[in-house]
């Protein structure tokens, strides 16, 4: 064993490698992405790693590997689990042979997600055991335990970190590479009565799962990570209890003070819930405060246990308004909740005296990078459709940021790939609207293609705009089928977006460089007026990956200070001089994309060179 400085996601990857994982698949999504990347980076050579086309594909690949007896891992964020839920729900009934871990990263806040869904709730729905780590160290150790449990029970096990565990670094004690397990899988053994799902199998499997989980609930009461402890207060038997989990358990640790009299239950297996341990926790208590993020899972379980066992214990938490019902917990929010529950005075952290008035601070939402080709694409479509009734459906990726002023080019955004179908639905109601659906290259492959087939087959009238920057930018530049690179380091045949579209049956598929503004605007105008489903592919590399060739600069003599560039583009590299009002360019940010040069009415900007 040795200590390493690791991000929680890295620690879980090393935990999987140490446990002898043989096949790893996943789809990028914050905050889960670094798990699979770390497996690839530290691959001792015999582990197969892939970025799958989406979470459903990844889960099925991992399931197949586990059918064949390998230990397998699939990684995703919480909304990715929605995409993978179809195979997961059935796999729960079919089960696995090799250990299979489904790593799903939840995102309280949410910080980088569409929803605040709770995978603990999903696990109960899918009837699959789930482990909920509190620290990177525990997350590392849980990976090995999850594989063991999965193999023993013959079903996938979910490991569910949250953002603060995923994206926190810590000193973690991990196994040396020489001690990593190496396993020889048995291979797939044909047995239709086991691997082919039919109602008759499902009848048997469901009954077996219910019996297994009832038994498991007893057993998990003895699992060392489900803990019961008492603070060192004056009372021998406290009447108050706190039930918590995950990262919130660390906030509770810090918020409790010497002299507090409280019993603390930490639940690491929210499903199956450790009822026996919960009963021991509840014995003699009058009141319990449940400190949880996302759903009140423990809170509902304790209410259930009280009801089933006839205990009169008041359970407080989200359902009673004692803990915030949504959003991320913080040390401060948990301290305040405990202050109220324990009827103690808040800790003195406030400054003395009258604090000075806080000035109005500038808003700083995330924005498209300076030189981002998506800015040019949105601007071209905006210009081409000026004065016309149009709908701009967005999708998931960096380009969702096209919603911000001054571009303001995202009318809808729902989930991966949805924009293409939303556009069709709106035009069924408003046929006189010019409908556009913007989709990134990775999203196109992940879940956009079926929407295009739907549109083409059902005779929709819409323009598909593929924003192809040849990477999965938002999550940190992962390869995808259009990039011609795999996570095993192979250079492979790229899947051509244009050829996919032509094969579906589209007859108009035009590719244009969005940074060539006139050509881009002209193409959009022409293509959008054709009937049926047609596509524009805007192709220009992500500026974070490409090295700028030159930078633009402003000729102050020529600049008249109209600020058209600033007002229309919203590029972070364009910073007007507060004294003169003339445009100026922050050389540290400019990539020389030339978009501002092309719209300057006095041709005052020059020097860029587009990629």
């Amino acid at each position: 064993m040795h200590r390493e400085f690791l991000m929680g996601n890295e620690a879980m990857a090393v935990g999987a490698l140490a446990a002898g994982v043989g096949v790893v698949a996943g789809y990028p999504g914050t905050p889960s992405t670094e798990v699979l990347e770390t497996v690839a980076r530290r691959n001792p050579g015999h582990v197969y790693v892939e970025w799958s086309v989406n979470e459903k594909a990844g889960l099925e690949v991992a399931a197949g590997a586990a059918y064949a007896g390998a230990r397998s891992l699939v990684t995703m964020k919480q909304v990715g689990l929605n995409v993978a839920s179809d195979p997961l729900m059935s796999l729960s009934y079919i089960g696995v042979k090799g250990g299979m871990v489904v790593l799903v990263a939840d995102d309280p806040g949410p910080i980088s997600s569409q929803t605040e869904q709770d995978t603990r709730t999903f696990a109960a729905y899918a009837k699959l055991p789930i482990l909920d780590p509190s620290t990177p160290q525990e997350a590392y150790e849980m990976m090995g335990e999850a594989f063991g449990l999965s193999e023993e029970l013959g079903c996938p096990v979910i490991v569910r970190p949250t953002t603060r565990v995923d994206h926190g670094y810590a000193d973690v004690e991990v196994a040396d590479e020489k001690d990593w397990a190496r396993r020889e899988p048995e291979g797939f053994v044909r047995d239709p009565s086991r691997w082919v799902i039919f109602p008759a199998l499902s009848v048997r499997a469901h009954a077996a799962i219910e019996a297994r989980d009832a038994e498991l609930a007893h057993r998990l009461s003895g699992y060392a990570r489900n803990t019961l402890r008492q603070t060192a207060g004056p009372a021998a038997r406290p009447s108050l209890g706190v039930a918590t989990h995950g990262i919130s358990a660390t906030y509770v640790d810090e918020a409790l003070r010497e002299g507090d009299d409280v019993r603390v239950l930490r639940v690491a297996t929210p499903y199956p819930f450790p009822d026996d341990l919960a009963e021991r926790f509840l014995d003699g208590l009058d009141e319990v405060l449940c400190v949880e993020e996302l759903d009140p899972v423990i809170e509902r379980a304790l209410v259930r246990v009280c009801g089933l066992t006839g205990r009169r214990v008041r359970i407080r938490g989200k359902l009673t308004g004692d803990v915030q019902p949504s959003g991320e917990n913080t040390v401060a929010s948990v301290s305040a909740a405990l202050d109220r529950f324990l009827r103690r005075a808040p800790a003195a952290t406030a400054r003395t005296g009258t604090p000075p008035a806080v000035p109005t601070l500038p808003a700083r939402p995330p924005v498209l990078c300076a030189g981002c080709p998506h800015r040019a694409s949105f601007y071209a479509v905006k210009r081409a459709m000026r004065g016309r009734k149009a709908l701009f459906c967005g999708d998931i990726g960096c380009y969702t940021l096209g919603n911000a002023q001054p571009l303001d080019m995202v009318d809808t955004c729902l989930c991966m790939g949805a924009g293409i179908n939303i556009a069709q639905g709106v035009t069924r109601v408003e046929p006189d609207t010019k409908a556009f659906a913007f989709v990134g290259d990775s999203t196109f492959f992940a879940s956009g293609i079926t929407g295009v087939v739907n549109a083409f087959y059902n005779q929709a009238d819409m323009t598909l705009v593929v924003l192809d920057n040849s990477t999965t930018a938002m999550t940190g530049h992962q390869p995808h089928p259009g990039t011609g690179r795999t996570m095993m380091g192979q250079v492979v045949e790229k899947v051509s977006i244009e050829r996919v579209l032509l094969a579906i049956g589209l007859t108009t598929v035009e590719t244009v460089d969005p940074l060539d503004l006139d050509a881009a605007v002209e193409t959009v105008r022409r293509v959008a007026d054709e009937p049926g489903v047609k596509a524009v592919v805007f192709r220009s590399p992500c500026v974070v990956l490409a090295r700028p060739q030159a930078r633009s600069s402003v000729d102050a003599e020529r600049c008249v200070g109209c600020q058209r560039c600033v007002r229309e583009l919203g590029c972070p590299a364009l910073v007007p001089d507060p004294a003169t009002g003339k445009a100026a360019i922050d050389a540290a940010q400019c990539t020389g994309c030339t978009l501002c040069e092309q719209i300057c009415p006095t041709h005052a900007i020059s020097g860029g060179e587009r990629l």
């Binding site: 670094y169 601070l361 924005v367 999550t475």
Partner: protein
Amino acid sequence: MSEKNLAVSPSAPQGGVSVVLAGVGGQGIVLASKLLARAAMGRGLHVRTAETIGMAQRGGSVTSHVRIGDGASSPLVGAGRADALVALEPAEAARQLPFLRPGGVLVTSDAPVVPVSAMTGGPAYDLPAIMGYLRASVAPDRLVVVDAAAAEGTLGTARALNVVLLGAAVSVGALGPIGREDLLTAVRASVPERFRELDERALDLGSAATAKE
């Protein structure tokens, strides 16, 4: 050691320190946090951090929390509990100031990064008001303002501002048990070869900047 040694006050956790790093996505906050954490690990200290990774890295407000020492259970620093706030941007210093404990040290750059929103209808960037607020909120002997333009001039790039600020923080004793040598070792261990010399210079420049005040 500079003359202006703001030794951490006795209310700081024994042997440990909590630091909040603040700035704008792209300024290198995550790297600064890693350097600080590695420096702590190099001293054999327990460390936990919380990073902002994801959409906010595209020019949004970014913070890293670094907790060093055995008392650190949570990776997040509580409100009013940071021993030091190291800000690469003044408006972000003001935004995260509630994390700083009474008597804690604020080390901030004086160079604004004006967001697009301030030029397209959002709240304006009022630098004098923000600097005035910081000076009114933090006692002069607890405040270090780093001249970012001078640092950029000396180093020839704005990229190493994160390390300059860490150098300034360490030179006034704001990083608790972490010393300059610990940071230097961390830089050597974690920064790619081609940036190493630049970051070493940046670290020294940060220390020198505070000595001058």
